[in-house]
């Protein structure tokens, strides 16, 4: 299945892109994808990174075809 992944803040810099389409195995969970991308792009302080699926930060479930997944780091500039 294909999912659309978006990266924000410093994560977009680690990934070198703002978004990408990923081909994932059926049954991949939000957590699996998070771990996979954190390793791939060496994203720091992974614990602080929040994941939104289809614009919703309340998610634990398996991913579905065409889901939109956002990787969101805390930042504090002002």
């Amino acid at each position: 299945m294909k999912v659309n992944v978006k990266y924000f803040g410093v994560i977009a810099e680690s990934a070198g892109k703002n978004e990408e389409v990923l081909e994932l195995k059926q049954g991949t969970s939000v957590k699996d994808l998070k771990n996979q991308q954190i390793k791939k792009y060496q994203i720091q302080d992974a614990e602080s990174v929040q994941i939104a699926v289809n614009q919703d930060l309340n998610n634990e479930a398996e991913l579905k075809e065409d889901d939109e997944v956002a990787f969101l780091p805390p930042f504090a500039g002002g």
Partner: protein
């Protein structure tokens, strides 16, 4: 009539203007976000505005902190902002608070205002605002900037989610606008969005951005509104224990050396190490005797500028021969692991 152009709106009217007049907003941090927010809230006739900032105006503030002018450099931001805004609107009450927000003053201060507007630039203060708002029952309007991107939300509004619900765990990577660079327009726009949320809350109109997080990238033009999750355990934790201080600490990469940190205590990140002597520049005169003269010491500040002056001064005036400036500031000596 001064407010005619907004009173004409159905959402404001005479009664709305009266609500604005009797409302009070505390702006914590009068910088890139706080300046434009303060200007629009003052011009809209918000009756009482607290302007809290412990910092002084510096020349690198001027490209985004639009209340300040060249001849304000070195002056207190809170005092200068109060003066400017009072000339803009003499009918409102403006209160300058030249202090940093701390565990000691937060709750008492928040108790004196209807809502809090976050103009800060560090995680510690954002968590502190969050916790003090939970304890005093005040909503707060949050914004944060990373380069061209901003986040906006209203927390603790009518029992809605809080900042700890969004980010229960924080990051050590406290990257400020000073460090990354920013176009002044970016905090400018987000500061105005914060002012708009504050007006909506005061007037009781429109859809307050509670339970949602707006993220905009002003360079790419992309924008998302994410639904937030309420985490009751995060809120209960604060109700039960009071404010839980968040300390962003980091490690020195080379612990075999001795260091002198001349940054003020509010400057982040803090380093907790026996190898670091901490003497803020403002205390240096009285505490020079604490600096050893025998051992080699690396002196650092945020960027390497102030520490260079300190090294030069201590060499020339006090005969220190053992001091070396850390050119690139704190970022170059902390470990990234």
């Amino acid at each position: 009539m001064r407010y005619d152009r907004q009173i004409k709106l159905d959402e404001v009217g005479v009664s709305g203007q009266e609500k604005l007049r009797s409302a009070s907003v505390l702006i914590v941090g009068v910088g890139g976000l706080g300046c434009p927010a303060a200007q629009y809230l003052a011009s809209a006739g918000v009756g009482k505005i607290g302007l809290m900032d412990h910092d002084k105006v510096s020349i690198t503030n001027l490209h985004r902190q639009v209340l300040y002018e060249e001849n304000d450099i070195g002056k207190s931001k809170a005092i200068v902002a109060k003066g400017k805004l009072q000339r803009l609107n003499s009918e409102i009450e403006l209160i300058a608070i030249e202090e940093a927000l701390t565990i000691k003053n937060a709750e008492k201060l928040f108790g004196q205002y209807d809502l809090i507007l976050d103009g800060t630039d560090n995680f510690e203060t954002k968590y502190l605002i969050n916790d003090a708002c939970i304890l005093t029952g005040k909503p707060w309007v949050y914004a944060s900037i990373y380069k061209n991107e901003g986040q906006l939300s209203v927390f603790n509004y009518e029992n809605g989610p809080t900042y700890r619900c969004l980010f229960p765990k924080t990051t050590r990577q406290n990257i400020s606008c000073e460090a990354t660079g920013v176009l002044g327009v970016v905090p400018g726009i987000f500061g105005m969005l914060q002012a708009m949320e504050a007006l909506k809350i005061i007037l009781g109109v429109g859809n307050v951005l509670s339970g949602k997080l707006k993220i905009s990238n002003l360079l790419s033009g992309s924008e998302q509104i994410l639904k937030l999750q309420q985490r009751p355990e995060e809120i209960d934790k604060i109700r039960k224990n009071g404010i839980i201080p968040v300390k962003i600490e980091c490690q020195i990469s080379d612990e075999s050396r001795l260091y002198l940190d001349i940054r003020e205590i509010f400057e982040q990140p803090r380093i907790n190490s026996a190898k670091v002597i901490q003497i803020p520049l403002s205390d240096l005169d009285e505490r020079i005797w604490e600096i050893p003269k025998e051992e080699e010491i690396l002196v650092f500040c945020q960027s390497g500028k102030r520490s260079k002056k300190v090294v030069d001064l201590l060499k020339a005036e006090y005969g220190f021969q053992n001091l070396t400036n850390v050119e690139g500031g704190i970022e170059t000596i902390i470990s990234n692991s």
